[in-house]
């Protein structure tokens, strides 16, 4: 473990904190998302909260805004302990947030999305649309978005939607503004305007919590930093007293003590070749080859379009252009059924929605794509299903009470194992793992990593989408970086450092 970096000078600051968090813990079934974290936000200061995916940053934001209740710990506003029972309570206490997910309403107008729940009223107690639209225009101007507040939100692109979310956060009279990766979906020009906005808010004396994965912007706008790792606070201090390297070390610190499996890749012939795969709106011009026994990493910032591409490769959506070859033969994949038949399988990123059938037992989940093999002329054979399920869950060292337990009762990591077992049972040639360790505990992570290495050693080709740098570095033979739906760079493992990855993903410079 890296030493905790509590800057001694932090305590000597003059301004009293507006908001203090102490000893906050929060668990979800199977995951401890936050464990005894503390945070102080002062007026006129920007605090950057950094940490890997799944470190617990967004969970903290939700606790701050009354969406979640902490299991333990205390929130103080101006030194007074407070409970934020609902989103309204938090807003009344002067805390506002731009959430990472867009929590907006497609069918409502832009103006209303900004003011829903606290719209201006006329003297008769009715909503004042004219005033609302006027004020919405003013706020949108402030964030540098020229959007007509009367049009429905659904007509906006993703970047503009995000600007609306920002405007919404600014529409309440707040003293604390939380921004959870506000620049992730914005283009350079909009980002610049956002920086200016942050400066202005700072000048107005607001306390700002700024969450970001991009170091350059952290250094540019933040005064302080706090680093989370696996739900714990591992460092905090003033940014002018630290360096980029030091932050990376704190954040990625786990790579020091996390041992990735030793691999001696023996790569075979070409298994999969993708040429010019494109989609009208989501990705364009993807080219690569995958060899037998290879682990190919796909890195990028969240929203870079990796999942969309993988889903097209798996036949969920259809590409507009491009071709693939499997074992040298041209193949056409129009549906997941065809992909599975061709030996390509996909472990999706959104486990709850796309991967596991949570209300069905483990063995039924495992045998789902292999039903044609376990059954006889269309009739189920339970014994055969249990046999197959037992075989593959044992290989993955699944922890469960019984095989007919519902998958929904398992922890995230074990759910993931069930989904992986489901696909291995089809005996695929290529397995695509989309954020395979997202939201699972460290122990399960190591198991998944070890397992991935063994699969590759057995001659399976693996595509691994990950937003975690150590995972990418620790596991991949080769890495493709995607940005805004396109391939930004391709590296051999030997050429890689965390910095090159981060820079390529953020588009800071063309590091080739």
């Amino acid at each position: 473990m890296a030493p905790k970096d509590y800057s001694p000078r932090a305590a000597a600051d003059t301004a009293a904190p507006v908001l203090e968090l102490r000893g906050i813990s929060k668990s979800f079934p199977g995951v401890k998302a936050l464990s005894d974290v503390a945070l102080e936000l002062r007026p006129g200061e920007v605090t950057a909260l950094i940490g890997e995916n799944g470190a617990g940053k967004s969970t903290l934001v939700k606790i701050l805004t009354g969406i979640y209740q902490p299991d333990e710990g205390e929130i103080r506003v101006d030194g007074e302990p407070m409970r934020f029972a609902t989103a309204t309570a938090a807003a009344d206490a002067g805390v506002t947030a731009i959430h990472q997910e867009t929590v907006l309403f497609d069918e409502l107008s832009v103006g209303e999305n900004i003011f829903l729940g606290h719209a201006p009223h006329t003297r008769l107690g009715l909503m004042d649309w004219a005033r609302m639209n006027r004020e919405a225009t003013a706020i949108l101007d402030r964030v540098g978005a020229r959007i007509d507040p009367t049009i429905p939100l659904r007509e906006l692109g993703i970047a503009n939607k995000h600007l609306v979310a920002i405007a919404r956060a600014l529409s309440v009279e707040a003293r604390v503004v939380v921004m959870d990766e506000p620049t992730a979906a914005l283009s350079q020009k909009e980002i610049e305007e956002l920086y200016e906005l942050v400066e202005r808010l700072k000048a107005e004396g607001k306390a700002i919590l700024f969450i970001s994965h991009k170091f350059d912007e952290v250094f540019r706008i933040a005064d302080r930093y706090t680093v989370f790792r696996d739900g714990e606070m591992v460092g905090a201090g003033r940014l002018d007293e630290t360096s980029e390297d030091r932050l990376v070390e704190l954040m990625v610190g786990r790579s020091v003590d996390q041992i990735f499996p030793q691999r001696h890749p023996v790569l075979g012939g070409e298994v999969l070749k993708v040429v010019g795969y494109s989609h009208p709106t989501e990705f364009a011009d993807i080219n690569f080859t995958l060899r037998k026994g290879e682990i190919l990493g796909f890195y990028g910032l969240v929203g870079a379009g990796r999942s969309e591409f993988m889903q097209a490769l798996f036949g969920v959506t259809r590409p507009s252009k491009g071709a693939i070859r499997i074992d040298g033969k041209v193949a056409v994949i129009r549906s997941p059924t065809e992909a599975i038949a061709q030996g390509i399988v996909y472990v999706p990123e959104d486990r709850g929605k796309q991967g596991a059938i949570t209300a069905l037992p483990i063995f039924q989940n495992v045998t789902l794509p292999s039903l044609d093999r376990t059954s006889r002329s269309g009739f189920l054979r339970m014994a055969e299903e249990f046999r197959l399920a037992r075989e593959y869950t044992q290989r993955l060292d699944l922890r469960a009470a019984s095989l007919d337990q519902d998958v929904g009762n398992l922890s995230g990591g074990n759910q993931q194992k069930v989904v992986i077992a489901k696909w291995l049972a089809t005996k695929p040639k290529v397995i695509i793992l989309d954020e395979p360790t997202k939201g699972i505990d460290v122990g399960s992570k190591a198991a998944v990593h070890e397992f991935m290495a063994e699969l590759a050693a057995e001659g399976l080709s693996v595509i691994m989408v990950s937003s975690e740098i150590p995972e990418i570095l620790g596991m991949s033979d080769r890495v493709i970086v995607m940005r805004e739906g396109r391939m930004a760079a391709e590296y051999d493992r030997a050429d890689l450092t965390p910095e090159t990855l981060v820079r390529a993903a953020a588009g800071l410079e063309e590091a080739a």
């Binding site: 969920v316 059924t337 059938i357 209300a359 189920l380 009470a401 019984s402 007919d404």
Partner: protein, 334 residues
Amino acid sequence: MSLSEGTRPRHVPDRLTSRSQRVLRSWEALLIGVAVLIFIANTQASPYFLNPWNLSDATFNFTEKAMIGFAMALLIISGEIDLSVAGIIALASTAMGYALQFGIGTPGLVAIGLGVGLLCGAFNGVLVTRLGLPSIVVTIGTMSLFRGIAYIVLGDEAYNGYPSSFAYFGQGYVFWVISFELVVFLILALIYGILLHATNFGRRIYVIGNNPTAAVFSGVRVQRIKMTLFLLTGLMSGVAAICLTSRLGSTRPSIAYAWELEIVTMVVLGGVSILGGSGSILGVVIAALVMGMVTFGLGLLNVPGIVMSIFIGALLIGVIALPRLIALLRARRA
């Protein structure tokens, strides 16, 4: 080669609770309890209840509805619904009556009844699976459309004069008091039970109902299965149309009026989740028996049908609310 060399893989048992334990705690057990209570109440309330012929007559109260109920159960488990089934009966019956005018015999009539049922099911299925429309709205529309066509064809007329051989389906007895309809009901219960609980197809229905996205991501052909289910529901409506038309010996456009809600009630009472993803054929069978016994038992006391429906409605809400209410109270106490 084992992947977890060195560490012995931990043993995960197949099942913790035995099947019998599961059954005892299931919805079906609750329903069987209700059914037994109603049975006892009926025998106490009327001396005429325990008579084989009377019980046999009573089965006609539910056999036709239950035939559709089986297919409807599959459809609802898959997350869709078909409210047009009674409309399909009206249209199929009208088509048979129309064909009758041209001297078509019993086999032809049966083929037409089944064919129209299938066609109507296909129409619903295409609208839902190809155009991606919500089935509840589509079938509210086709419910009116199908019955409306029957009204256009028939107006205030009626078809009758079905051949005597046709009467067998609704009025014939296979053995002693066992009517043809009851036999069809039992056979269909068996077929649907096997289809839902013992085949790949049935398994995939549950998967689709539980999580349609994950189903797609697991290579299940969701739209194709849903289409098949709409076809099956249409077909069953055709079968019910044949039985009912045969039993009545006549066709009017108002035939089977408002059956759709009774059928859905039967299916939901049988423990099929209206949100999809769970339910069993056994449950539907018991629910059919419960509803049949309630209506027959109260009928013996000359209670009007509408008062019976209070019982059915209360049973529906009560049986679903009770477990939730208990859970709520328990949570409050904790």
